[in-house]
């Protein structure tokens, strides 16, 4: 048998086959990418890589300015001969006063970072015994709090109580008072 060959048509045939392969691969990748959320079907990046915007920059400068103002430059610090600690007062407020089925929860915000100390809580209701409790102070990033007051409702009768918390940390003291309602 004689083989029939056509050398003149080989380059065109090769080109068609190559194009078909490329198109096929593109289609296969398209399906794969769609199913796997690969490019270009991947979700747009949630990270904004644009340069800092003017708003971000100006707010950042404000933040830096506040930080600089809160830290006295060491080269500007005034030497002091007074080595005795002076009494200071800390701002204290009741941040949460809530009740669940069994417990009355009292939380306190102390608006300064304190290193140790104690909180004394007293609850008074006219004509009834005063409830008292103590807790240590826990410092936070920019403030402090009392290590919780979780009072069993069995210790409190329903009605309005006057809550007073007094904090002491070294020479720093502070106090806050609030009426709370026990149901």
């Amino acid at each position: 048998m004689k083989l029939r060959t056509n050398n003149k048509k080989t380059p065109k045939k090769f080109l068609l086959i190559a194009l078909a392969i490329i198109a096929g691969l593109t289609l296969v990748y398209g399906v794969f990418a769609f199913q796997t959320k690969a490019w270009p079907f991947s979700p747009a990046s949630t990270v904004n890589l644009n340069p800092t915007s003017s708003e971000e920059k100006s707010t950042g400068e404000e933040i830096k300015s506040d930080s600089v103002n809160n830290n006295t430059p060491p080269n500007k610090a005034t030497p002091s001969n007074d080595i005795s600690p002076s009494a200071a007062s800390a701002s204290v407020l009741f941040s949460a006063t809530t009740q669940d089925n069994t417990t009355y929860h009292i939380r306190v915000l102390i608006e300064t970072v304190l290193d140790g100390g104690t909180c004394a809580l007293s609850l008074t209701k006219s004509g009834e015994q005063t409830y008292t409790a103590n807790a240590d102070i826990q410092s936070g990033p920019s403030s402090s709090t009392c290590k919780g007051f979780d009072i069993p409702l069995t210790d409190l009768s329903p009605g309005t109580w006057v809550a007073t918390v007094t904090i002491t940390s070294g020479s720093t003291t502070g106090t806050a008072t609030k009426d709370i309602t026990v149901q």
Binding site: G60, S65, N70, G140, S143
Partner: protein, 648 residues
């Protein structure tokens, strides 16, 4: 085909444009600044991603301070030297500590404490502007996340240093996310009073903190932005506190939404049953237990959603139907429909939560399929059901019955059901009871000794006993006869109102195995009272006054002299006849000795009559069971009738 690639590129560009989201403080939610799932997504960025991000924000760092100082005093180098003794500046993208790049420090800390590195980056920016600053001072790194930096005082030296600062911040975040019992916060989930500023005169408001991540941010910056600060966007306003607002703005601008789309789900990691409370001795999966015995379940499930689970919020509950009270509830359960909450304080996405609870088998033998679901209390049930097949069986004799139904009927054919409460019957009239129960023990219940009986107290004699009862304290056995284990028995009996009126009482019934035990003391209860039966006839010289009535023997037809003076005959469903004398002053109906039936006013003037005078003495008026109202002579000759027989 040749358009495929351009199309894909175009699609990507369009998708990217659609994802661009402008930041606005107006969508800031003070109770939910960021979702727990977003806050704890520790794998959101790798070290390279962090470095690339930092590079993008500060393309050129003013390392030598050659630019003019924003604070005056010449160049930044000159101002820095004069005030802080530094004339060169290292931007965060180039910063390192102990041989670790800032990106590596941020990444490592995020992984160690399970906090999103994006959160840490925003924290560094909102506290010290370190991400965007082109000439940061050493003091900014010293207190990089503001930890130990009160708003009203200088920073605390014990927390100095980038690594130290990032670590303390992440450690605190994780403690709050985990609701650590040793880490107290000024704010709690729920209602809190949060000021607008450290200046007390600026006031504040109640904020309902919805999640731990928001609680953690308030532990960092214990103030909320007021309306003016929100309206100012990136700007400032009187009494404004910007820490949490700026966190929200930077996060949204750089990384997209802080809330994302919440997803909820779980998969079962393990489910084991133990015979002991210490969970040492495992029981087989095909569980067979004795009645009243207890066993212990340990269930571990994985959080496949993106929301954090919390103790006392994520519970297991009776399912199919939801909130089903389980017969296997024990003293460790929250209630009969809630076996337990998760043991862990919190479980993040991908983490595992554990339920352990005791189950106590009911007395009733049988095959049970106890189905439970996982729910976020007050929020949603997670998809899926957990099934524990349990066989309650005993090798010892067990006598037990399960009541299936207990109903009352007005008729002996048991076709008209009546409510079990508030039943009123006339003296001598009956109601009919049908009770069905199942022998759920493992012993035969002989009909000769297994009877329905009055209870509360046991062996009580009932005044409603009648001839269908064995005696006043025992009623009947099952009509099917002896009941084998698993068989269903039907008990039918009547109750007859006694001859004298009785106040409302509770007639409770149980089932007794004569001479051995009570199988149940509360099969069902009938609330019933006995009323005086009205007369069924009006004889010669008798009078029916306003409000009085005659009742047919079958209690279906009633003749009433109404308050409006109308004499009306009622069927069980409607008025079938009347004298139509309403408003004419009729006050008494008299069956006269002359045979005439007359309705008189109070002054004895007649309003209506049957016109049967002189038909003979000794007549009587009878509302018949066929619905006809008839006057008869003593020889039962009808002299007058309404002709309403057959009407209903």
């Amino acid at each position: 085909m040749k358009f495929t690639l351009p199309f894909l590129v175009l699609f990507a560009v369009v998708a990217g444009l659609l994802n661009a989201q402008p930041a606005s403080a107006t969508s800031f939610n003070p109770g939910r600044i960021i979702d727990d799932g977003v806050f704890t997504e520790a794998t959101s960025m790798g070290v390279g991603d962090i470095q690339q991000f930092l590079n993008s924000k500060v393309p050129v760092c003013d390392t030598n301070g050659t630019q003019t100082s924003e604070y005056g005093g010449g160049t930044r180098a000159q101002w820095g030297q004069a005030n802080y003794g530094q004339s060169t500046f290292t931007c965060l993208k180039d910063y390192s500590e102990n041989g670790k790049s800032s990106a590596q420090i941020i990444y490592d800390t995020a992984q160690q404490y399970g906090i999103n590195p994006k959160v840490m980056l925003v924290l560094l920016q909102k506290e010290q502007s370190l991400v965007t600053d082109t000439w940061p001072l050493n003091i900014q790194y010293r207190s990089a996340t503001g930890y130990g930096c009160p708003d009203t005082a200088v920073c605390d030296s014990q927390y100095y240093g980038l690594t130290n600062q990032v670590t303390w911040a992440a450690k605190m975040f994780r403690a709050i996310i985990n609701d650590s019992p040793t880490w107290y916060t000024p704010y709690v989930l729920g209602d809190n009073y949060i000021r607008y500023s450290p200046d007390a005169s600026c006031g504040g408001s109640t904020v309902t903190i919805a999640n731990r991540a928001t609680q953690a941010l308030y532990n960092y910056t214990p103030y909320q932005p007021n309306a003016a600060a929100i309206a100012a966007g990136w700007g400032s306003a009187p009494c404004g506190a910007y820490g949490n607002r700026n966190f929200y703005l930077y996060y949204t601008n750089w990384f997209g939404s802080t809330t994302g789309t919440p997803s909820y789900g779980y998969s079962v990691v393990s489910r084991d049953v133990y015979s002991d409370a210490t969970l040492q001795t495992k029981l087989p999966n095909l569980l067979t237990v004795e009645p009243d015995s207890s066993f212990y379940v340990k269930l571990v499930i994985r959080n496949t959603g993106n929301q954090v689970w919390y103790k006392n919020s994520l519970n297991i509950g009776g399912d199919a139907p939801q909130n089903r009270a389980s017969l296997f509830a024990s003293d460790t359960w929250l209630n009969a429909a809630r076996p337990a909450t998760i043991n862990e304080a919190s479980v993040s996405e991908g983490g595992s939560g554990t339920f352990t609870f005791k189950m106590t088998a009911p007395k009733e033998l049988g095959d049970y399929s106890e189905q439970f679901g996982v729910l976020i209390e007050g929020n949603r049930w997670l998809s899926g059901t957990l099934t524990i097949p349990i066989t309650v069986a005993s090798s010892s004799p067990v006598y037990y019955v399960k009541p299936l139904s207990f109903d009352a009927y007005s008729d002996a054919t048991l076709t008209t059901k009546i409510n079990l409460t508030g039943i009123s019957k006339y003296t001598g009239s009956k109601i009919y009871i049908k009770a069905v129960l199942k022998n759920t023990g493992n012993q035969m219940l002989p009909v000769s000794v297994t009877k329905i009986a009055p209870t509360n107290p046991l062996n009580r004699s009932s005044i409603y006993a009648d001839s269908s009862w064995a005696n006043s304290a025992r009623i009947v056995g099952a009509k099917e006869g002896d009941l084998a284990p698993g068989a269903t028995g039907t008990y039918i009996y009547s109750m007859t109102a006694p001859s004298a009126p009785q106040a409302m009482s509770q007639e409770q019934f149980g089932v007794v195995l004569e001479g051995q035990q009570w199988l149940t003391e509360n099969l069902g209860t009938v609330s019933i009272q006995t009323l005086q039966r009205p007369p069924s006839e009006l004889v010669e010289n008798q009078t029916l006054k306003i409000g009085d009535s005659l009742l047919s023997y079958d209690e279906r037809f009633r003749l009433v002299l109404q308050g409006d003076g109308n004499l009306v005959l009622y069927s069980p469903y409607r008025a079938v006849w009347s004298t139509q004398t309403q408003g004419k002053g009729g006050a008494r109906l008299v069956m006269q000795n002359d045979g005439n039936l007359v309705l008189y006013r109070a002054d004895w003037t007649p309003v209506w009559s049957s016109n049967t005078a002189k038909r003979g003495g000794g007549s009587k008026l009878i509302p018949q069971t066929d619905g006809n109202l008839v006057t008869y002579t003593p020889s039962w000759s009808p002299t007058w009738w309404t002709g309403t027989n057959g009407q209903q």
